[in-house]
């Protein structure tokens, strides 16, 4: 019997699910170092890497069954726990670096800002090692398992750009997984929901529904819209919009609450040290979930131990009230705002410390409003008949944040307010492992063709920078034009030849290629040239030397045709073709960035 694997390579945690030709998906237990002296299995592998100091593990420390080198680094539960005490030696959220366009994603930059570790890692290497760990763990728990690359799906945030997708595929290849397929996380969550409601999902959705997949995890928020059309059980699903990459999630909420509690204690003369604050964040998270899930509870008492062994004398008591959680988490992160609200684009400071581009505005509902407004703008551009307001009437929640019922209710309340109609929740989602489960189900669907597939094209339109041919003016670089090479909504397996136009390509010399993207220009067709690329979002830049084709010498300009293709694996490939010789160069998006 064939086995299909879905890998959730998450920002905070990884998980794997597997499923057979039929039957229900299983979560694969993941062997990992769980304490300084023990190995164990957990269903989640924290996406953390801890790099110990020299001599910290004189005997090599706990050893994974498949690794011979020991004590150099750890991944998983122990890494996260030990790393919390030595933040300079902890790599976390590497995935957010993977899609950070201004970071050198192949360069050794992590742990970011650390001066303690002797050897740093690249974001790509972190992804590779996490995938190796997952792969070895599967082999260890079931030695007979064969991971046929055609049966493996890895999920990425819907907001991942082409460069980050390419890097994820490359990490999979380097990890020995081969040519795997990518799937957007919100779609995976939706596939998991379809699978778990196989018999009755058609009762919950119907023609004309627009479903928001609202995924708010520990550190990221990701939105997608899925439309439902058709009749009588013959429904078609299409992913019609994806949001931007938002570094905003449950961790922000816990941190905000911890500050509130800490300030309250400060007012009574109790000052918490850094380690107490660390344990306060954890305590506050539990307290928040309790308060948000139990409407009858007005406050919870928190106990914050010191690191001293004097637990009785050193434990500080604090309270967290329902009103505080309501004000900070519900009203702070999910304020009731107008449909036209827009989040702060950036903090007012002129100079920002380098690092991850965290969302400047904590109000998730404002980001949601912006996402829906942009989705509507894109839809209006691409369709001839003006549609009504684009607002979802059903929501599939995913991510740990929505373990709190009050937050789900608030999102539904806001959507109902915007549309004037009641928005409902798609019941029975399982937030912890839905993404891995959905990926496994999708892997099976791809191979067997059995099941309903969500139609989805590229979420954005892609452009390549084109130097305009204009008269030279001293001191002015000519404006860069943008050539659309892949329109929004381009589907898997489809390709475009930008016909009738040829472009000049410099060979044998270092040339710079710039890439741009947009998620609001759905009307642009492949081959269209925009006069000013600066209106678009620049996604990647690469420098490379194209070797001259036979019969041409370096430095020569050659005429080329441009072709683009979305592979079966879901990534965008771009080719330069030299018609006289038929020579073809593939442009890799995932090249060294500045």
């Amino acid at each position: 019997m064939a086995e299909y694997f879905g890998i959730d390579l998450g920002t905070s945690n990884c998980a794997i699910a597997k499923v057979g030709d039929d039957g229900l998906p299983d979560i694969v237990p993941l062997t990992q170092v769980v304490t300084a002296h023990g190995l164990g299995e957990k269903t989640l592998l924290p996406s953390s890497v801890y790099i110990p100091s020299e001599g910290e593990f004189s005997d090599g420390g706990p050893q994974l069954p498949w690794r011979n080198e020991t004590g150099k680094w750890f991944a998983g539960t122990f890494a996260r726990e030990r790393g919390a005490l030595q933040p300079d030696r902890l790599i976390s959220s590497a995935k957010s670096w993977l899609c950070h366009a201004h970071a050198d994603r192949r360069g050794p930059i992590l742990p970011w800002g650390s001066e303690s570790v002797s050897e740093k890692w690249s974001p790509l290497e972190v992804s590779r090692q996490l995938l190796v760990h997952l792969l070895e763990s599967v082999k260890y728990s079931s030695p007979a398992a064969t991971l046929d690359p055609a049966h493996v799906v890895i999920t990425v945030p819907a907001s991942f750009d082409e460069a980050a997708r390419g890097l994820t595929l490359e990490a999979a290849k380097l990890a020995g997984l081969g040519e795997v397929t990518l799937l957007e996380e919100p779609q995976a969550a939706f596939y998991a929901w379809l699978e778990s409601h196989e018999s009755d999902w058609r009762k919950q959705v119907s023609d004309g529904d627009l479903i928001l997949v609202c995924d708010v995890g520990g550190g990221t928020a990701d939105f997608s819209l899925i439309s439902v059309s058709g009749k009588d059980g013959n429904l078609a699903l299409e992913r019609v919009a994806v949001g931007e990459h938002l570094l905003l999630g449950g961790d922000n909420m816990d941190l905000a609450l911890a500050h509130v509690v800490s300030e309250k204690l400060g007012a009574t003369g109790v000052t918490l040290d850094a380690w107490q604050f660390l344990s306060l964040i954890q305590t506050v998270r539990d307290g928040k979930e309790t308060l948000l899930s139990n409407p009858n509870l007005l406050e919870v008492t928190l106990a914050i131990p010191s690191r001293s062994r004097k637990l009785l004398a050193g434990t500080v008591s604090a309270t967290l009230t329902k009103a505080e959680v309501q004000e900070i988490v519900v009203d702070g992160f999910f304020p009731i705002v107008e449909r036209t609200a827009s989040p702060l684009a950036r903090r007012p400071g002129g100079l920002r410390e380098a690092g991850l581009p965290y969302a400047a505005d904590a109000a998730i509902s404002k980001h949601l409003a912006r996402f829906l407004a942009r989705a509507q703008a894109a839809r209006d551009l691409s369709s001839n008949e003006p549609g009504g307001i684009l607002l979802p009437n059903a929501v599939l929640f995913n991510g740990g944040v929505f373990n709190a019922r009050a937050l789900k209710e608030r999102v539904l309340e806001i959507l109902s307010l915007w549309s004037g109609k009641t928005a409902r929740e798609l019941e029975g989602a399982q937030p912890d492992h839905a993404v891995a489960v959905g990926a496994a189900v999708y892997a099976r669907l791809r191979q067997t063709g059995k099941g309903l597939r969500i139609k989805s094209g590229t979420a954005k339109a892609y452009y390549i920078g084109l130097e305009s041919s204009s008269l030279a003016v001293p001191g002015r670089r000519p404006a860069v034009k943008a050539l659309c090479i892949a329109p929004q909504g381009m589907e898997e397996g489809s390709h475009h030849v930008i016909a009738g136009q040829e472009f000049c390509l410099y060979t044998g010399e270092v040339s710079e290629f710039r890439f741009f993207q947009s998620d609001i220009r759905a009307a642009d067709q492949a081959g269209e040239v925009l006069s000013d690329a600066s209106t678009l979002e620049e996604s990647a830049k690469l420098e490379g030397v194209i070797p001259p084709p036979a019969g041409h010498s370096p430095g020569e300009e050659i005429p080329v045709r441009i072709e683009s293709r979305v592979s079966e694996l879901g990534n965008l490939e771009i080719y330069f073709v030299h018609p006289p010789t038929g020579e073809k160069w593939k442009l890799e998006f995932n090249v060294r960035m500045q």
């Binding site: 002296h37 164990g40 009785l312």
Partner: protein, 214 residues
């Protein structure tokens, strides 16, 4: 997978399934011959018990196979020396200390502490130990009924999972009031101890912590 279900007694006693020996076959990770051990909430009781009886936890003798045909000689692959039961127990206690500060709590003098202090500390112990139990054990009641229910134990009832109080006749059935529904550890997935040596046969219970300033 060899796993005995161990029964919980009532009250404060927590009976755990102390998985003891590292299985030579790495695939049977959790397949460990079980030696059961009672761990009270009092750590000192446990410490005394294990130190008094250092050889109480042993691998059971291997049954001799009475087979007619001679078995082919199999050269066993080198296996790590079996971790001792004590190592597993100390490692478990270390987990309760790490997350629930149990050793700190029990070792501190409670006689001079106020109930407020004791209560605050108990919250730390409660939430941490609760997390450890939920992470590594699947615990369910022996009986699905409520305390105070009248129940009948028929002939052949699971006597290891029930403790009878009061006047007990020679034969079941027994009719009585359920005082405590009991606890069953349905599964145990404790970490497997690594890195023990002759010099350090079990892990450090809680490492000394040093805040580095230079």
């Amino acid at each position: 997978m060899a796993r005995k279900l161990l029964m919980g007694a009532g009250g404060l006693l927590l009976i755990l399934n102390a998985g003891a020996f590292f299985c030579p076959d790495p695939q049977l990770k959790a397949g460990i011959e079980i030696a059961s051990c009672v761990l009270g909430l009092s750590v000192s009781v446990l410490a005394a018990k294990t130190s008094e009886q250092p050889t109480s936890v042993q691998q059971p003798p291997v049954k001799q196979n009475v087979s007619v045909a001679p078995e082919p000689v199999v050269i066993p692959a080198p296996v790590p020396p079996p971790a001792r039961a004590e190592a597993e127990i100390v490692a478990f206690l270390a987990l309760l200390q790490e997350h629930g500060r149990l050793v700190d709590f029990v070792r501190e003098d409670a006689s001079t502490a106020s109930d407020v202090q004791l209560g605050a500390a108990a919250r730390v112990v409660h939430s941490g130990c609760r997390k450890v139990l939920s992470d590594y054990f699947e615990i369910t009641p022996v009986h699905s009924g409520n305390e105070g229910d009248t129940i009948v134990l028929e002939n052949g009832y699971d006597s290891a999972a029930h403790r009878l109080l009061g006047t007990v006749s020679q034969q079941p059935p027994y009719k009585g009031k359920l005082l405590h529904p009991g606890w069953l550890a349905r599964s145990v997935t404790l970490p497997r101890v690594t890195g023990t040596t002759e010099q350090r046969p079990w892990p450090v219970l809680a490492p000394a912590e040093v805040e580095v300033s230079g």
